[in-house]
Symmetry: D2
Subunit: 147 residues, 4 copies
């Protein structure tokens, strides 16, 4: 249903707890955004740029836009896989794409993306520093048929 | 920044608590989706169709798609207004649009929308029953410049 | 099942949303702690000491201990009442007691308490300033048969 | 600060995300109860009794009481360890004890416990079935000095 491009893709796992579900017996829709955060956080850690380190340099990347499409439900105790890719690096913005699936299941449960602005500690838009752009550009992919 | 059409608009309030915020000092992005739910829930209640009653008739409207754009941050203790409109009624689907603002502030903090499928208790897509469609159609508006 | 003493008691309301519930069809146990926060936040606002104002003076009251007993379940769309009382004011600590009930229902769903330390911006324990202690002492009650 | 007895102890990890924190820059107090759930869920899985399997047999163990003491704060990106022990098995009740710490840090951040009732699908109190009691008794410990 959803496909990410062929470049660097980071996989993170999450075991669904009761606290993630709602009375329909499935994961509440807002909780997928927590998984997106977990996905991009591990993505940055694995390419050697933990978000905490980026923040320590005075740069923040708040979410300016999110979208998510839900295809199938996630249930209690499911082992969820979050596949994350960096799909755009602008002068002062980033975009990540995500695919949520159940471990051992080839079809996806959901797909989505987040856009981020680069801001300083006062919340002012800033150009992403050159060295950071270079390192991000190396793992950047062009999405193909994403969602 | 965002504008809803001129038809029926339901306003709901929410006071931001610590539990809504994150370490940036602002409301965590996933929590806006909780506000969207609160908004559409009050919308349905105020037009005389509480969601609980709809469910009791065997119909559910799970979210199939969500999007949200964040313009400004919401902070601790802010009194938030959620403006909700029904913007589409299909054979087996609905769409709601939302505008999030701070009480007494004319500009909006965020805007978004959710799409819903009509399903039965077994999760199978169902046509929305005729009487429900009629009642929803009465409060339906065509969005103008929404987001 | 639970009873608060006869002195100042502040009542706050919360409508249960899907996002509060879990797959058992009831409110997830951790969410009662969000309600406790909402309760004490409104308590402080109504006695003229909004927590935000206290923080602006450099004092914070992080939770050092919480307990909650669950008697009956809360369900989707329930209108919940949170009754809050201040039950102890120490040199550098506070205690609040809470009773959770369903509107129009005399028996309680849950009861609990939180203890708080007074700290400065650096997290160091501080004596509660004299004027604050005096104002809090006025609304302090001795719990009688609480829980 | 807190100590669990010497018997079976199951360790689970959690990486703190933004969504776990609040504007004080620390993990919001209610989220520790999510970690407790994660802890007891992994405990049951590792002793060969996944909670999902217990539920499939018609038994549920809702929380009837929780308490938590907070000693130190957990921060963004901390790798948290949840140590879980089963500390009581009654005719129709269980108790788990938890210690929360930061990986590589000997002192604990928080400690707590949950009590559970054994109920059937209709929420009626039930005696825990004999074979389940026997298997739980094997991993039961008597807490020693557990806060």
């Amino acid at each position: 249903m959803a496909q990410l491009g062929a470049s660097l893709k980071i996989f993170t796992s999450h075991r669904v707890i009761y606290g993630d579900t709602d009375r329909m017996g499935v994961v509440y829709y807002a909780n997928y955004l927590r998984w997106f955060e977990k996905g991009r956080s591990e993505f940055l850690r694995q390419i050697g740029l933990p978000y905490k380190t980026i923040e320590a340099q005075g740069f923040h990347f708040p979410v300016t836009e999110v979208s998510c499409r839900y295809f199938k439900s996630a249930h209690y105790d499911d082992l969820i896989t979050i596949a994350t890719q960096l799909t755009s690096v602008g002068h002062a913005s980033l975009r990540f794409d995500y695919i949520i699936s159940r471990e051992g299941d080839t079809s996806s449960l959901a797909s989505g993306s987040t856009k981020h602005a680069c801001v300083d500690v006062n919340g002012r838009i800033k150009r992403i520093p050159g060295d950071l752009t270079q390192r991000l550009a190396k793992v950047l992919i062009t999405p193909t048929q994403s969602t």
